[in-house]
Point group: D2
Chain length 348, copies 4
């Protein structure tokens, strides 16, 4: 490949802006040449701020540009599938935010289209690129905790999203826990075979109205015989709580939360330190950058992406199993979830 | 009550010695006047070391002594029931190590006998008296974490017990996790209504031979709507890992492990601190002392004991539910366990 | 001011590149239009990488460009004075790396020139912009530790600089401790009135050959009656150690070191965490960015710079007092240092 | 030696009671047979509580008892000298609280008398027996921080003592810092050769009225070429602050404060942990016990005491040098202090 890798971005919202800023300011060898979003005002403001030359209301027009080498799909989840299919049809390299889709069949179909068209697709499980979790994975993979026995993930948001977001989110497991499911697979280096979930509405009745939950605890059984436990809450008043702990035959590794500073204040009332970085934009700023660099590197070098459609499929399948388990209060095997899908559109 | 409270101790083993040492050296207003144990050599050695005047091979002879006001039952679990019944029949105040019995029916029966005889019985869930867990309970009860949503208990032993111990232990849930079940009830201030357990043998095949497990993860549902998760291992190579975390609408409280010292060493390889205090004798030394003081205070003041037979019953019931859940891989309601028992011998 | 603030950078070395990268990639509203450095290869490589249009071997030619609004002086210390004087004469706004000069007289003269020409000069005590130290200052200024009594600064480098650097550095106090002297003034909010220093060569004999020290402990007396203590080493094998602690009538605030990640590994040998970020480029990356933003904001808004020539003068004076104290093993009053200078070129 | 080691205790005050309780309840093989104190009420109350058979208003009568093998001198400092001389004359083994005396000549004379009489004397620098500081010493002595370069001691009391205590204390250096001077010698494994001190009254004017200081910072130069820095305050509102840090060519070791529990509370306002154990009785409970055990072991085994009169002498000499340095604002060599003393009563 000669010259810069040219990006077209689909979506000028919150997450789109993060990726644009990283592409424009922090990643050498790339260029953002086009931006598509139906919201004209936001689209033009973002384009102006980052010097993006071409803008489109209809993303399909942008995909028709021959100079677009790669796309970053940052639109609403319900458009991801079609955007992937259209981009793949145009031969574009694809970065897609998670989840690929709320339906496992469409995830599968999108992956098959990507494979058929011979393009790369990195799915935005950005936390895999966080320095803390990378370190945990490095320690686990290096055998420093021996054979894994138990994985704990604590993942709590600082505050619930707006009601409209909740209603479109696919529910806590497909929206929030899906990150933890991906993290579980990544850290354990083994697939999940069974899920048991308990969920409730303890934070805000709005979740009940939306047919969703705000609090959950999930037990995972892995194919390697180890167990996992994930606990979620949509509201931790002390901020964004993102911790993992892997326990094994040779030891344990855990990560503390990141804080804006490392101060320790001692007064008559106690010893006080800073709250965690408050939400994902701050907490995972570095991981968004590293994830996009990884995508660019894979495209430029022609190497496989470190997290792909298969990963998107598997995390979604666990999420669906978790939701079913919560509804039916029984352990659900992943094979039960995979079955229906695999029948018509088998994973390659 | 005038004069000192006079104790007879049943059992001169490891835990018996702890209680004797606390009674003799650290608790004012008490006296250990007699010791019973079938093992003559150990019994006489302990009696000599602590200046205990009378010793018996048969504990019933000791119970016949009118000068014995209170007993500390520290014998093997399978004798607890009979010892309680016999001590209660003699009107002795009873401190009994946990568990009361491996059978819920006998726990029930023992409690009824204690009630009928009008004596007090403190059941040795010593961890309730640990400064760390007391502090957590104080914070939770004081509303500092708001309404509880989720409780996490991590409880890992440094190394498995001998095979003989395992075979007589009643299994991981009645032997080890029972402490965590009691802690869960204590910290949550609410009863457990349902249990789901995943268990495996990952540490040592000896557990499989004994029909037991060495690794477990338990999901608890509480009557107040909150959830809990307990993870156990019989072997943490870094030592005795005893942590809890309570998350609620107003915040979170957690406790770190206790260490023998507070040193921090920085060298070219990293920052290093001390491992946890290695096992329960060191870790819970303070709690054993406080628990016995609480028993003595309750007896002397004629006040209720802070943890009694009812607590022993309930923790055992959860343990039995957990074991059934692990065997059958399904959530088990506590009502299912209570039912059979309650039919014949209802809890007062 | 209309349009972008246009920078000319003097020096394409290590620190010059940091400032250029921040100006080009992370600070909106600025442009780097020119770069001067005698080293042709480095200069051209940097210019190419960051798209800087004009390059010069002689910085004076660059200063002659009318389109250069502001300069960043990142050359060797012995050129700072002349560069400041020349830039001020051209009416350029000045960012200058510390120290201004090794001679107090020349620092004074440079400051006077800046004042006379009516330009702004921010002196690069970047640590003032570090989130940790900003937080400490905020806490101290907010009265949360009451009236300050004692300040401790621990400042240790991971490894000694090359011999050539040492010989040109002005010695440990003007090169390394000067940051701590500025930090002391900043955190205490009071001037240093007296210094006592003990210094030695314990790390590497190369310091002795250069007439310098590698280890020092400094006692500061402040005008507000508080004391301070600084300890320095040129070699901490565990990495860059940058901590401060302010103790006062109402409490204490301290900051821990920053680490690349927040992992905690427990194995049979102990509990292990990450070493500090290894040196100033990593540790203070954020502070370099914030410092330059502060300079740009001051220039654009026409407000005073947060750290100026006066601060450069005072930190240098303390450094000279410290060196004299170390040589003569006696407390040295700042008035003793200021005297000679003040006679000829009084601070405004 | 056959039978128990029989103690006579001189002084039934706060520190006397600590030692009596340890001797009576926690140290096997010893007996407290007699107690001397001029304050009748306290003396008799303590004797009754701990079952001490004989009590005396005049300690000399107690020393006349042949059954007293060893004495614990816990009276006021101004009586220590005479008590040591009298006890040594009777051939008693001596445990003596620090300081031996406020005059170096009398310290010297007491030591000589002890040596002449052939008895053992352990001087109560209890902190040497604290698990934290023992660990630091073990790490330093084991070479894990390489060659020591710098020692930092932070030692702050939670609140000033009463005025009467201050007036009799000998001043901050002989009363408070003396512990730190002993700790410095112990941890460094090298003697102090020079002291520079800055001191002030920042906490309470009562110290000024008593001709004393409440805040001090001391620079130590050791014979091995390393430096040390001690900072003291009579009032840390957050509690008893007792930390040390040893930095060397191979790393650093430090110790955190001890806390009553290990809880961590996170709420909307921050992360909060427990304050340090509040004062020396709680903080150093373990060290008082270990120190007395070490004394008993040395006497019983006929081995040297781990901290003796020589240590008492040296710590006092540093304290006197520190006071002189503070008064005269100049570095003071230890040789200057030793000189006058050594002339008449040389240290053996």
């Amino acid at each position: 490949m000669t010259g810069k890798l040219r990006f077209g971005v689909l979506g000028a919202g919150r997450i789109g802006k993060i990726h644009i800023e990283n592409l424009v300011n922090r990643i050498p060898g790339v260029q953002v040449v086009a931006l598509a979003d139906v919201a004209a005002q936001e689209r033009e403001a973002v384009a102006a701020r980052f010097g993006i030359g071409k803008t489109f209301a209809d993303y399909r027009e942008m995909l028709a540009l021959p100079e677009v080498d790669a796309v970053a799909i940052c639109g609403p989840t319900n458009l991801h599938y079609q955007m992937i299919v259209d981009a793949a049809a145009r031969g574009k390299q694809i970065f897609c935010e998670k989840p690929i889709d709320l339906s496992l069949e469409k995830v599968q179909a999108a992956n098959q289209e990507v494979a058929r068209r011979g393009v790369r697709m990195l799915v935005g499980f950005n936390r895999r690129f966080d320095p803390n979790f990378l370190k945990v994975r490095e320690i686990v993979a290096g055998g420093k905790v021996g054979k894994p026995h138990f994985l704990r993930i604590t993942s709590r948001d600082p505050a619930p999203p707006p009601e409209a977001y909740i209603r479109a989110s696919g529910g806590i497991f497909l929206d929030m826990t899906i990150h933890d499911f991906d993290m579980a697979r990544y850290l354990m280096g083994s697939e999940v075979s069974e899920v048991y979930t308990r969920a409730a509405v303890l934070v805000d009745p709005v979740f009940e109205k939306a047919g969703d939950w705000d609090t959950a605890v999930v037990t995972l059984t892995f194919e390697n015989g180890a167990f996992g436990s994930i606990d979620n809450s949509r509201k931790a008043v002390y901020g964004y709580d993102q911790r993992v702990e892997m326990f094994g035959s040779g030891g344990m590794v855990t990560v503390a939360n990141n804080t804006p500073d490392a101060h320790i204040l001692a007064d008559h009332a106690g010893i006080h330190t800073a709250l965690p970085l408050n939400f994902f934009l701050e907490r995972y700023a570095e991981s968004y950058l590293r994830e996009m660099r990884a995508f660019v590197d894979a495209v430029v070098d022609g190497t496989p992406v470190p997290v792909g459609g298969e990963d998107g499929f598997k995390a979604a399948a666990i999420a669906l199993a978790a939701a079913r388990s919560a509804r039916e209060n029984r352990p659900v095997k992943l094979s039960e979830i995979h079955q229906g899908v695999a029948a018509e559109c088998p994973v390659s």
